[in-house]
């Protein structure tokens, strides 16, 4: 059989339909598609894809199982390296990781590794009812701060090595950014709940509504008998642009907008948490979070959604697939534009006018790309006198986050860098003995899989330290 130069296309919901619902966009490979796609893998000797994976999944091995229709075998291979395969199969930027290294990719499209991972994980979750076996206790206790991707990964690896693990979560639901940040249409919450359940079956204990740094301190976690602590508390504070009008009603940080919709379920009719819906929406930023916010606004009923980004499409940092999906759904990209002011309604004759203080528009200025900066990205420069107004009712600011100071300010001897990120060595160990950290709390906003990689590194270091 001749090799298909293209990977099997992912079946998706029709853009016109999905723009109005919160069901998952990508529907997943069928059994037949998955086996056919697996057969495209050359099973090459040097396995470059494995190096491209932050948690080093033995990719050719799981694909080999799949070729022989041994799906559970494939799952077992993935599960050795990843605690969250159904999540990673959906949200990993495979095109810049494993798939970017694929030998097949030199001449053709690479193997659809992410899609295969998702197929295997979904098949396992649908067909395998056996609960994972608890490992005999090694008598050691570890506390984990935050139940996002780094914390869940670290918890999983430690539990599998016999540690008694307790995960503390500040919010009322486990999952961190996987539940408050990433929307349902990209990562159904039932999948996150399923992964958390698997960890519970392994003996991991979860304590929600516990803000470490407030409810309990790191020192108290040690006093309670924990011998190591892993901090995976996430990035935290949303950045604003510091332009006039950012406090008008209708201006949200992406964190707030997405949390209202995802965690608090504002998209449902029967929900107590309000969110501004409909009208015209401007989303500022070009990352995955900006795409998520724009597509959420659309599904909440917006008549028009703009993405305002200060560089061009080439520099746009969001995953290509997300950008394509957004475009298909009708999101309008205002590229090489930067907001300079958010405009609001003001009735000079009636201070009690209910419309006062609500957003009416976003003034943007045209940009052009100048000289490359230190990172090699061409710096956007404003074009003088080119301002114009985009009429809108809501503005969502998705320009990144800064680390949360809650843990740093309540933990003596925990050193942070100039940006507030916790300083760690190559094992994820902080300046405090037996305190490890990873994920966005260390790096600032990054990807789910890099946080998982950090959780894995720290888990290994903790396991080794008790040998």
């Amino acid at each position: 059989m001749a090799l298909d130069p293209k990977k099997h296309a992912m079946p998706v919901q029709d853009p016109q339909v999905r723009a109005h619902n919160f069901s998952e966009v990508a529907l997943g490979y069928t059994h037949e598609m998955a086996i056919d796609e697996a057969k495209r893998c050359l099973n090459c000797k040097n396995r470059p894809c494995v190096q491209g994976c932050p948690v080093n999944i033995s990719i050719p091995d799981f694909i080999s199982c799949l070729k022989q229709d041994d799906i559970e075998g494939a799952y077992n291979v993935i599960n050795k390296s990843s605690s969250l395969p159904a999540v990673c199969g959906r949200v990993c930027p495979q095109e810049t990781q494993c798939e970017s290294k694929c030998t097949l990719g030199i001449k053709f499209e690479p193997v659809g590794i992410g899609r295969l991972e998702r197929f295997v994980a979904d098949w396992h979750n649908a067909n395998c009812k056996e609960s994972p076996k608890k490992v005999a206790s090694n008598g050691h206790r570890v506390a984990i701060v935050g139940s996002g991707p780094s914390g869940l990964t670290c918890a999983g690896d430690l539990a599998k090595a016999g540690f008694k693990v307790t995960v503390y979560e500040a919010l009322h639901t486990e999952g961190g950014v996987l539940v408050y940040g990433i929307p349902e249409f990209r990562l159904p919450k039932a999948i996150v709940a399923k992964e958390v359940d698997t960890l519970k079956q392994l003996g991991v204990e979860f304590v929600t509504n516990a803000v470490i740094g407030k409810t309990l301190t790191i020192d108290e976690l040690f006093e309670q008998g924990n011998e190591a602590v892993f901090v995976g508390s996430g990035a935290g504070l949303p950045n604003f642009m510091n332009i006039p009008g950012e406090s008008l009603k209708g201006v949200y940080s992406a964190n707030e907008f997405l949390t209202r919709s995802n965690l608090m379920k504002s998209f449902r009719d029967k929900c107590d948490t309000p969110i501004m819906k409909g009208g015209k929406v401007v989303v500022v930023g070009g990352g995955n979070v900006a795409m998520d916010a724009a597509r959420t606004a659309l599904r909440l009923g917006a008549e028009k959604v703009y993405i305002v980004y200060r560089r061009s499409m080439t520099e746009l940092p969001a995953r290509r697939e997300e950008v394509e999906h957004a475009e298909e759904e009708g999101i309008q990209f205002e590229l090489l534009r930067n907001p300079v002011e958010i405009l609001g309604y003001h009735n000079p004759d009636n201070p009690r006018d209910e419309r006062n203080g609500f957003v009416t528009g976003c003034k943007v200025i045209k940009m052009e790309l100048g000289e490359p900066d230190a990172k090699g990205r061409r710096r956007p420069v404003p074009v003088e006198g080119s301002e114009y107004v985009l009429d809108c009712d809501t503005v969502v600011i998705a320009i990144g986050t800064s680390p949360n100071p809650l843990i740093k300010s309540t933990t003596k001897g925990l050193e942070v860098n100039a940006h507030g990120g916790i300083i760690v060595n190559e094992d994820g160990l902080t300046s405090r003995a037996n305190v490890y950290a990873g994920g966005d709390a260390v790096t600032g906003a990054a990807t789910v899989i890099s946080a998982m990689g950090a959780g894995k590194v720290a888990a290994k270091a903790i396991i080794d330290s008790f040998k």
Partner: protein, 282 residues
Amino acid sequence: MYKILSRKELNPTVTQLEIEAPLVANKAKAGQFIILRVDEDGERIPLTVAGTDKKTGAVKIIFQIVGATTEKLNHKKAGESIQDFVGPLGKATEIAGKKRVCIIGGGVGCAIALPVAQAFKEQGTEVVSIIGFRSKDLLILEDEFRAASSKLVVMTDDGSYARQGNVTVPLKEMLEAGEKFDEIITIGPLIMMKFVTLAAKPFGVPVTASMNPIMIDGTGMCGGCRLTLTEDGKRVTKFACVDGPDFNAYEIDFDEAMSRSRMYFPFERKAHEEICNLYKNA
């Protein structure tokens, strides 16, 4: 789930609950707040801690029925439970080193002002309290304030009890008569705190206001609680949940805070009506 240990109606619109939350009771100090959810579909609302009992693990909260969530909360009985309860959040009120302070509470804000007054009294600070209400029906915690203060002035807007007028009237009188305070702490409606600040300004007394904006997580993540302050002539954004809830009142943009507090008024009105109808028909 968090058990309701006791329930008491302080007036027709204000209810006090004690919630079993030992970790919070163990840590909470005057001025800090909690976030709760009544049920699975509920919204997260911040409420300032009105008192704690470390022995029983109880955290006291006092709330006014203003919307759907507080209406639902008000229908919970002692022995029942609420879904979520997390805290203590925010920074505690700074009480150290003050010899004489004036506490000014308005309406349900008095519930939060009381533990602050008590904390000051406990460390030997002389407390003068001014508490204001719209009318006699809405008066709460008068005896408790009297016990915590060397002097207490009660005001009602309509004159139905004690002295008629708003809280700035006796404050101005005291300041004009030459009374000295190391600090004025004001907790209540934004409009009241704004005018307390304006009244105190000519006398150069430091004023601290306790802010209670809309928020979701309470840990600095959502930014919904942001306020604009003017620090050294520069406008800066602060998050009430992690930087506050107490701020130097002279720096706060109260007009902006008032506008932001009304962001969901139409939504809240509708939701409250729906919930009320639900209870009426039940």
